[in-house]
C-alpha cells in the first residue's frame, strides 16, 4: 500500500541551500500523520481504561466504515486533480433507494441496485467534468443538489423504514467476531492501495494529477482517468450508504449528506495533496483513524462535543498549510 518509502527523506537532505526549512516541512508532510496516530493512540491508552479494549476499537472501526469508503474514493479524485462534493448526496440516495426497493426486490438486490444508481451518478459527474469541462467543484455541487432533491422526491419527506429483519445483515452481521462493514473497509483499503501503487491505472492517475499536459503528451487518456475516478467515487458512496442504511433500516433524505466533509478531512490530514499527483491510501487510512481516535477520545474523556468540530477544523487547516508550504519549497 505504500508510496515510495523513505525516498523523499533523502531527497530533502540532498537539497543543500536553505534545505533545512523546506526539508523539515517535507519531512513533516511525509510522516506527520504516522506520528500523530501513534502519539494519540498511546495517550488514549494511558488516559482511559476503556480505550484499549476490543469492544471499543471495533466500535470505532465500525463507525468509520462508511466515511472511510468515501474517503478512499476521494483520495483517487484528489490524486487525479479533481474533487467530488456529491458523494454525500449519493451516499444518502443509496440508503433511501435501498429502503424503498427492499419490499419489491428483497434485501441484497435492493442494496445492489441502489449502489449501482450511485455509481451511475459518479459516472455522470465524470463525464460532465471531463467532456463538458465543468470545474469539478461546481459540477459536483450542482449534481449534489439535484441528487439530494431526488432523495426528497423519493421519500416525500418521510422516513422510509424497512421491517424485514434480514435487512440488517450487511450492517450488523459478523464474521469471526468482526462486523461485515469492517471487513469491507479493510478489503477496500488493501484493494485501493494495490490499485494506486501497483497497477498501470494507478500510475496514470498520479501522472494526470501531477501534470496533465505531460501525461497527455505521454499518450495517457486523461479524460478516461477522470471518468474512472468519479465513477469509483459514486460506487464507494453507494457502498458506504448501503452499510449505513442496513445498520438502521431507515432511509432518510438529508441525513448523512455531510459525510463528504469528514472524508475530505481524513484525506488531507493523511497528507494527500489537494493539488494533485501526490498521496496514498495508507495516508487516508491513517487520516480516518486519526480523526476517529480524536472523536473517540473526546467521548471517553467526556469532552463537550461542541469542541470537537473546532479542533477538527484546526487540524485540517494545519494539514493543508503544510502541504502548500512544501509545494512552494520544491
Amino acid at each position: 500500500m505504500s508510496e515510495q518509502g523513505a525516498a523523499p527523506l533523502r531527497g530533502a537532505v540532498s537539497r543543500s541551500p536553505l534545505a533545512s526549512v523546506s526539508g523539515t516541512v517535507e519531512l513533516l508532510r511525509e510522516y506527520m500523520i504516522v506520528v500523530c496516530v501513534v502519539v494519540l493512540f498511546l495517550v488514549l491508552t494511558f488516559t482511559s481504561d476503556t480505550f484499549l479494549t476490543s469492544t471499543n476499537l471495533l466500535n470505532v472501526l465500525q463507525q468509520v466504515a462508511p466515511v472511510g469508503m468515501v474517503a478512499f474514493a476521494l483520495t483517487f479524485l484528489l490524486i487525479v486533480g479533481e474533487f467530488d462534493l456529491s458523494s454525500g448526496a449519493l451516499f444518502v440516495l443509496t440508503g433511501v433507494l435501498a429502503a424503498k426497493l427492499q419490499p419489491h426486490f428483497g434485501t441484497w438486490p435492493a442494496l445492489a441496485l441502489a449502489t449501482l444508481a450511485a455509481t451511475a451518478g459518479g459516472l455522470i459527474n465524470g463525464l460532465l467534468v471531463s467532456y463538458a469541462r465543468i470545474n469539478s467543484f461546481v459540477c459536483t455541487l450542482a449534481t449534489s443538489l439535484m441528487v439530494a432533491g431526488l432523495s426528497n422526491v423519493i421519500t416525500k419527506g418521510f422516513l422510509v423504514t424497512v421491517d424485514d429483519q434480514g435487512f440488517f445483515a450487511l450492517g450488523t452481521n459478523e464474521l469471526f467476531g468482526v462486523k461485515y462493514s469492517i471487513w469491507i473497509l479493510i478489503v477496500a483499503a488493501f484493494a485501493c492501495g494495490f490499485v494506486l501503487s501497483r497497477t498501470k491505472f494507478g500510475r496514470w492517475l498520479y501522472a494526470v494529477g501531477g501534470n496533465p499536459e505531460a501525461a497527455r503528451l505521454s499518450g495517457i487518456n486523461t479524460r478516461a482517468m477522470k471518468v474512472a475516478a468519479f465513477t469509483f467515487s459514486g460506487l464507494a458512496a453507494g457502498i458506504g450508504g448501503a452499510i449505513v442504511v442496513s445498520r438502521t433500516a431507515t432511509g432518510q433524505a438529508g441525513n448523512g449528506i455531510d459525510v463528504v466533509f469528514g472524508a475530505f478531512a481524513a484525506v488531507v490530514v493523511g497528507g494527500t495533496s489537494v493539488m494533485g499527483g501526490r498521496g496514498a491510501i495508507w495516508r487516508t487510512a491513517l487520516g480516518i483513524l486519526f480523526l476517529a481516535l480524536i472523536t473517540n477520545g473526546f467521548n471517553l474523556l467526556q469532552v463537550e462535543p461542541v469542541y470537537q468540530s473546532i479542533i477538527q477544523g484546526a487540524i485540517i487547516l494545519t494539514a493543508v498549510a503544510i502541504d502548500s508550504l512544501s509545494r512552494r519549497a520544491t
Binding site: 525516498a7 501497483r198 497497477t199 498501470k200 496514470w204 501522472a207 501534470n211 499536459e213 501525461a215
Partner: protein
C-alpha cells in the same frame, strides 16, 4: 472637475521633473539610460557578458540579435524585471538600483512584455490607472481619470473605449492599453519586447507610428525585436548583440538588414559536435508531411525525414517551429497529411502517435515533459507502462531493470529511482525526459529544444545520443533556438519564418549565413 489641477498622486518624482505630470506636454524629456558591465547567467547558460551601452534621451534604440543573444534579457534588466548578476544601470547619469518593475517605475522606466500584465476582467480605464488611481482618501475620482485618459489618448493618437473590458479587446488594442498605462505613470523610458510579434502587418504598422509619436513626445524607447525591416524603418540607433556580448551600436540610417545579419554571424559554439554520418540516399522515408497548416501558427508545411536522418528546423522564436512538431505528434489539431513509414496517420492524438512509433521531447521539460512531483522511475516508464506490466499490474522488478538500463543508455547520473524527478539537475532531468522515449525504441523522434538550459557536458551527451539514435535508423526532427546546434547536428536544415518554409539546405549548403538570412528574411 475641469480643473487640470496639480497632480495629487503621492508618488515621489525621483527625476525631479517639474510641474504636474502630463498636463503640459512641452518640456518633458525622455530618460537617458546607460548600462555598465552587465553580466547575467541562467544556471549554466550565459545570457549577458560585460555589456555596456548608452541609450540617449528621446531616441528609439533597437536591440537586435539571434535567438538567445541576450536582447530580451537586457531589456528586462533595464526595466527591473530581471536582476543582473553584476554591473550597474544609470538613469540620467545617476546609478539606480531597482529590484522589481515596481521600483523601476519610480525612475520612470516601464516595460511592455510579450505577455501583457493587464487585469483582463477590468475595464480599460481601470487597467490604465491600476495602482495609481486618481482621487482622494481611497476614493477613485472617475471623472478626473476619464479626463486624464482622454488627454493621454489624444497625445498618442489612439483612443480605446475606456469602459471596454480588456479581455474583449484584440491583442493590438490591449497593447495600446499597456502603452497608456505606461504614460499615466509618467514613464520616460519604455522597453518594448517583441511588440509586433503577435500583431498583423497593419496593426504592426500602426504600432510603429504610435512608437514614433511617443518618441516625439519625449519618451525614450528601447525596442527589442528580430524583425529587421521594422527596426530599420523605426529606430534611430541599432545595437547588435551576439552570445550575450555587445557587437556594435550604430545609427540605423547607416545600417541595412544585410549589414545587421552580418554582424550577428559567427556565433561561437561552446561545444564540439559529433561527426555527422550521412544516411544512405536510398534510406526509406520515415515521416512525410504535406500541406500541413494550422493558421496562424504555420501554413503549407511539406517535408520528409528519412530513416537515419536528422532534419533541423531552424527559425526564430514564434516562427511556428514548435507548433509544427506538436501538430505532427497529434498534440494540436491541424490540416494536411502526415505519413509515417508510408502510411497515412488519420487518428491524430499523442496516444496513437506513440503507438505508431513517434516520440516528442517537448520544449519545456518542466511543464510538458516530466511530472516533477513523481519519482524518476514513473517518469521514465510513463509513456510505455504497458511494457513493464502484465494484465495491468506493474512488474516492479522488471520496471527497475528497464529504467536502470534506459537511464544508463542515456548516461544519466541519478541516485535512487524513487527520488522525485525534481531533485535532479537540469541535465539529468533532460536525459530522463529523453529516456522516457527510449524504453521502447521509436521510429521518429521530434526533439524540441533538446538542450535548453543545461550545461555544456550534458549538451554534448545529448548531441551524442541524438546522433547515436539516428545512426540506429531513427528519423529525427530537431528544433532549436541555437542555430549552431541545428547546423552542427542536422544533415539537412529547413528554415521557417512566420509559419512558412522559406528554404531547405542540404549538407554543405547549410552554412550559418545562408540560414540566418533566411530565418530573418533578409535574402
Amino acid at each position: 472637475m475641469s480643473d487640470p489641477g496639480p497632480d495629487r498622486r503621492p508618488r515621489p518624482d525621483p527625476a525631479g521633473t517639474p510641474g504636474p505630470g502630463g498636463s503640459t506636454v512641452v518640456g518633458r524629456a525622455g530618460a537617458a539610460c546607460a548600462v555598465r558591465g552587465i553580466d547575467k547567467r541562467y544556471g549554466a547558460a550565459i545570457a549577458l557578458q560585460g555589456v555596456s551601452l548608452e541609450f540617449a534621451a528621446g531616441e528609439i534604440h533597437a536591440l537586435v540579435g539571434e535567438n538567445g543573444a541576450g536582447k530580451s534579457t537586457l531589456g528586462k534588466i533595464i526595466a527591473g524585471a530581471v536582476a543582473p548578476d553584476a554591473g550597474e544601470i544609470l538613469v540620467d547619469g545617476e546609478p539606480v538600483s531597482h529590484r522589481s518593475p515596481r521600483d523601476a517605475i519610480r525612475y520612470g522606466i516601464g516595460i511592455i512584455e510579450q505577455e501583457f500584465a493587464l487585469a483582463p476582467d477590468l475595464s480599460v480605464l481601470d487597467n490604465v490607472f491600476l495602482g495609481v488611481e486618481l482621487g482622494r482618501r481611497g476614493l477613485v475620482d472617475r471623472a478626473q481619470q476619464r479626463e486624464r485618459f482622454a488627454e493621454l489618448a489624444e497625445r498618442v493618437g489612439f483612443r480605446p473605449r475606456p469602459s471596454a473590458v480588456v479581455r474583449t479587446l484584440r491583442t493590438a488594442d490591449q497593447q495600446k492599453v499597456e502603452i497608456l498605462r505606461q504614460l499615466v505613470r509618467d514613464t520616460r523610458l519604455i522597453v518594448m519586447d517583441e511588440p509586433t510579434a503577435a500583431l498583423t502587418r497593419d496593426e504592426a504598422d500602426r504600432l510603429l507610428e504610435i512608437t514614433r509619436e511617443l518618441r516625439d513626445d519625449g519618451v525614450t524607447v528601447i525596442y527589442v525585436s528580430h524583425i529587421l525591416g521594422d527596426v530599420l524603418a523605426l529606430c534611430d540607433t541599432v545595437t547588435v548583440l551576439k552570445d550575450g556580448r555587445h557587437v556594435k551600436t550604430a545609427p540605423a540610417s547607416e545600417e541595412t538588414s544585410d549589414s545587421l545579419v552580418t554582424a550577428m554571424l559567427g556565433r561561437s559554439l561552446d561545444v564540439a559536435f559529433p561527426t555527422p554520418v550521412a544516411p544512405p540516399a536510398d534510406a526509406p522515408v520515415v515521416l512525410a508531411v504535406r500541406g500541413l497548416s494550422r493558421p496562424p501558427a504555420f501554413q503549407d508545411i511539406s517535408f520528409e525525414v528519412r530513416a537515419g536522418e536528422i532534419v533541423g528546423l531552424a527559425g526564430l522564436v514564434g516562427s511556428g517551429r514548435t507548433e509544427i512538431a506538436r501538430a505532427i505528434f497529434g498534440a494540436d489539431p491541424c490540416e494536411g497529411t502526415i505519413e509515417l513509414d508510408g502510411r497515412a496517420v488519420r487518428t491524430r492524438s499523442p496516444r496513437s502517435s506513440i503507438r505508431r512509433g513517434m516520440a516528442l521531447l517537448p520544449e519545456s521539460r518542466k511543464d510538458q515533459g516530466l511530472v516533477m512531483v513523481r519519482p524518476l522511475n514513473e517518469n521514465v516508464t510513463m509513456a510505455h507502462v504497458g511494457t513493464v506490466s502484465r494484465r495491468g499490474v506493474l512488474q516492479r522488478r522488471r520496471e527497475q531493470q528497464v529504467v536502470g538500463d534506459t537511464l544508463k543508455s542515456v548516461d544519466a547520473r541519478t541516485g535512487s529511482q524513487s527520488l522525485p524527478v525534481s531533485s535532479l539537475s537540469g541535465g539529468n532531468q533532460q536525459k530522463a525526459a529523453l529516456a522516457k522515449w527510449l524504453v521502447k525504441t521509436p521510429r521518429l523522434l521530434l526533439a524540441d529544444e533538446p538542450t535548453r538550459g543545461i550545461d555544456v557536458g550534458a549538451k554534448r551527451a545529448i548531441y551524442d545520443l541524438i546522433h547515436g539514435l539516428a545512426a540506429d535508423g531513427l528519423g529525427v526532427l530537431l528544433i532549436s533556438s541555437e542555430l549552431g546546434e541545428v547546423l552542427g547536428l542536422a544533415h539537412r536544415v529547413i528554415a521557417v519564418r512566420a509559419g512558412r518554409i522559406v528554404g531547405e539546405y542540404a549538407g554543405d549548403q547549410a552554412d550559418e549565413e545562408t540560414v540566418m538570412r533566411a530565418v530573418f528574411g533578409s535574402v
